[in-house]
Point group: C2
Chain length 221, copies 2
DNA sequence: AAGGCATGTTACTTGAGAGTAGGATGAGGC
DNA sequence: GCCTCATCCTACTCTCAAGTAACATGCCTT
């Protein structure tokens, strides 16, 4: 992320080249991700992607090896965003309860973004077993963090005893689903949806006369 | 659903022919649904489906018009199962709370079955706009019932005040997600998963000292 | 100014798989 | 026994989109 205005030295220049190339590669991936999310992987041809970028198909091949690599990278980036979101939050002096909510907020936000949405909307069937393995291990990492957070919450007494495995799946499922039906131009903002969804997951649908008011789930972070 | 043992009359015989034909058609659809769920729509060729049925591709075309019709029918059947599940439960003297839980149980069960899983796993991008419209209207019908049930629950005082729209989406999302990762041969039974998932959705992840013990969510129905 | 490399283009090959034409087989009715 | 219709097969066509070959353009260095 260096300043690209100052391009005196040839090294700097070549670095500019590199970053520009990288930027274009990302543009290919992001444009593809959007197309995949709108029309699905198989209904998106490389010509479609090229057209959106105002280039021709072979140009795409200058930045990626093949169509599969595009999908793989889109999903990988999405998963890495989710994984990093946990890392940003976890272990920073917060209670498990607070951290869990913070992670959920980020999770919900990411699945409404281009790459994050790819993780949810586009399946991984088109990928090779090798690629799937890599992505699976990333998913496991995310899931593990969720579970640990829930386990910690149970130990700390702010989360009800439950099977952390199923709880993690349920939470991730409900949040992921947002990425499936969310429309950027719809009436509801991603933020509001996430807030209410998280509220429901934490407090449940059933009416319970809560005696402890110390946890503020509905804060507008 | 007549008894097909007694085949004396020619009408009965011809009816047997009809039902046999219908049974084969359903076999095509069910086999296709399984293949779609395992490998995805586009990675499943009609030759694949034919092979699983021990027939050849043109035989498939004797029972369905084209590949799109197969997908459409699979999803339609799945959605109709979900819709009927609500009808079976709603309005039979139960409280909104009880009915909601009963619907959730059925919902979770159906998304682990062949056609129900199709609704969740296979997208609708390959379908024509016409087909999508039909399916969308079915989905709306299911969603509407969920919302009404939640609204009723709020009115009856057994469900916490919330936006029924988002609550319905969250619940449906969490339950649908089961169909995405559930493995029939995995360690957990669909029934157990559903029970815990529903428990979490009703009571929430957060620990609340419940004063009312009248609602028994964990009953083993 | 000349050569080389990065970037893109036009025009092609190729394969997979959806869908079809037309014929074989066999059961039931007349 | 013969005709008809349902059922299923072999052998094909045809389209679409992924991927490639080979050439054009222009900046950057020397």
């Amino acid at each position: 992320m260096q300043d690209s205005m100052d391009s005196q030295s040839p090294w700097k220049a070549s670095s500019d080249r590199q970053t520009e190339r990288e930027a274009k590669r990302v543009a290919v991936l992001r444009t593809a991700a959007r197309a995949f999310n709108e029309m699905g992987y198989h209904n998106t041809s490389l010509d479609d992607i090229a057209r959106r970028l105002n280039v021709t198909k072979p140009t795409i091949y200058y930045y990626v090896r093949n169509k599969e690599e595009i999908l793989f990278e889109c999903v990988r980036i999405g998963l890495e965003m989710l994984d990093e979101a946990s890392n940003d939050v976890i272990g920073h002096d917060g209670s498990a309860y607070e951290e869990l909510i913070a992670v959920m907020r980020k999770y919900a936000e990411i699945v409404t973004m281009d790459f994050g949405m790819c993780v949810i909307r586009v399946g991984e069937e088109p990928l090779t077993e090798e690629s799937r393995r890599t992505l699976r291990s990333l998913k496991r990492s995310i899931d593990r963090k969720f579970r640990r957070l829930i386990e910690r919450g149970i130990a700390e007494g702010c989360i009800a005893p439950c099977d952390p495995k199923i709880a993690a799946f349920t939470v991730a499922g409900a949040l992921s689903w947002i990425g499936r039906w969310y429309q950027p131009n719809g009436g509801l903002s991603a933020h509001d949806i996430a807030a209410q969804c998280i509220d429901l997951l934490m407090n449940g649908l059933g009416k319970t006369t809560t005696s402890g008011e110390d946890h503020d789930t509905r804060s507008s972070g």
